[in-house]
Amino acid sequence: MSILVKAKTRILVQGITGKEATFHTQRMQEYGTRVVAGVTPGKGGQSHLGLPVFNTVEQARSAEAPEVSVIFVPPRAGADAIMEAADAGIKLIVCITEGIPVIDMLRAKAFLKKTNSKLIGPNTPGIISPGKSKVGIMPGHIHIPGPVGLISRSGTLTYEAVHQLTKLGVGQSTAVGIGGDSICGLKFAELLEMFREDLQTKALILIGEIGGTAEEEAAGYLKQISYPKPILAYVAGVTAPPGKRLGHAGAIIEGSRGTAQDKTNCLKEAGVRIISNPARIGQETKAILIN
């Protein structure tokens, strides 16, 4: 098993002819990901990396039936690319693009609510189900298949956690980056729900960071149900200075929440085991799995 992407999942790449997209599509193909088509407006009919290129997602969808689209377009076109994929009926959209304006994302999220599409990201390394499919930009070779699911707001910190696990011989079922932007798609709570039913996953690691309320929402979700698997969490930014970005009118909605301390407290109350030393993510997870 694993969640979101599996060995046979059909993948579309939006913006496929760009430099970054080309590089990472090649890495995905090498990993064995089933990439079936690409989209670049104006390049429809061409072939790129052995794949058919279409002008629109709609055309790609009817020709190649992709289930997941991974987006590598420039920031200004990011929200539009998300909406185009959702409009074409793509079930899962993974947006790698970093730097999409916040108001664009508010529009894209409102659009998504009227569809059945799910979004991961933006500003995410993507999703990997080791040994099956890699949809994103993470280094594939550090992963091995196994029982641990990861959900993270950070890229390199996830690689660090995965590396620690792999070194100890502990594999991963699926690692999902939910992205580092303030407005993003699926978060901890929704993904925990997906991992709950997954037979391969025996334990979960959440990697959070300061700002927003995703960790608090996860804690709220966990308090409502009795989650059947052990969950560990590390929240980055204990030493980060108070967020200057959060201004007054925004802070009123967030209340006093948003610091690493508050987030770890919330998660702890919800029964999550807190990891305070980020170099021990692997060891602490292995210890839980053995017990």
Binding site: L106, A236, G247, N277
Partner: protein, 388 residues
Amino acid sequence: MLIQEYQAKRILKALGIQTPEGYLAESPEQIIKICKALGSPAVLKAQILSGGRGQAGGILLAREPEEAESLARNLFGKRLITSQTGNRGLVVRKILVEKALNIKKECYLGLAVDREHETLLALVSREGGIQIEELSRQKPELIKIISFNPDEGMRPFQARQLAYFLELEEDLIKQLVSLLRNLSGFFIEKDLKLLEVNPLVLTESRLLVAADVKMEFDDCSLERHQDISGLLDFSDDSEEEMEARNFKLNYLRMEGNIGCLVNGAGLAMATMDIISHFGGQPANFLDIGGGVTEEAVNKAFEILISDDRVTSALVNIFGGIVRCDLVARGVVNCAERLGLKKPVVVRMEGTNVIEGQKILKESGLPFHLADDFEQAARLVVSLSGREK
């Protein structure tokens, strides 16, 4: 991106919103001229990018032009330390001089991105000139919030709900409704993240005046708003922050003595956390980013080791897009150029790690190579000479 109060007030004026009569001064001589023209009393407002200026002595009332001049002499060039600036404070280079208002009533008006509900919000309060979070805890009944979305904007009825909540007289309601719709339209058009008018003043002569205003724009959208990006003011940044920005490095100065050079924001935060976990104190946050060049690494390392406060430094790289050999070359070139006078711990993992370690070893420079994250953190703390 924040802009200065005087810049935000110019924008309001252009939108047809009343602001106090005032002028910007860059020297005490200008102050006296402005005060004579405005009439007394006048308010001097230090232009720094921080809230809490009042408590820090950055907002002063002058009864006559001579008093204004002498107050301004003290204020110009002073480092104001507010609750938001950190202990280095911000230097006052410009002072906004305004004619004091005859205040009948003060309220608060804010527009913001509501991250939790993924929409925009408008907030008004019957009390103004206050800390809005404080007030929301103590007297939530004085506050009203509405949500609106970027496609439809603020509806007229929503603006009326807010305006009537403030219990203004009928003729002022219309003024406020138009002000709210005006501001919310501007907020969406120019990609703001926060806009606060605090206080919004009703004067004795029955005018609604924006006595103070704060505007924060979305950094990601600046390229589509040339008029706004032209207002960027970097004069408050430290030398390190300025150099880092030129090389697209994400640098933030901290208060400690252990320098850090890391790729990725999350790993960079975790690196600061683990240093503190083992009893050390980070001197900075530094994320070199994914698309970094060798030249930028060279610069990043220079910023680190030329910082006088730094007693030891940690380079922590998990190569994904970033290649370890590129980082190693940047670090070695810099160390050869400037000399390696402080202990530097390097921990590398991921893409091209073997090539990277080889470059460090063959340089003959005394880097301390660590095998993993924890060992690196323990080592850099013990080498810093300031363990708790």
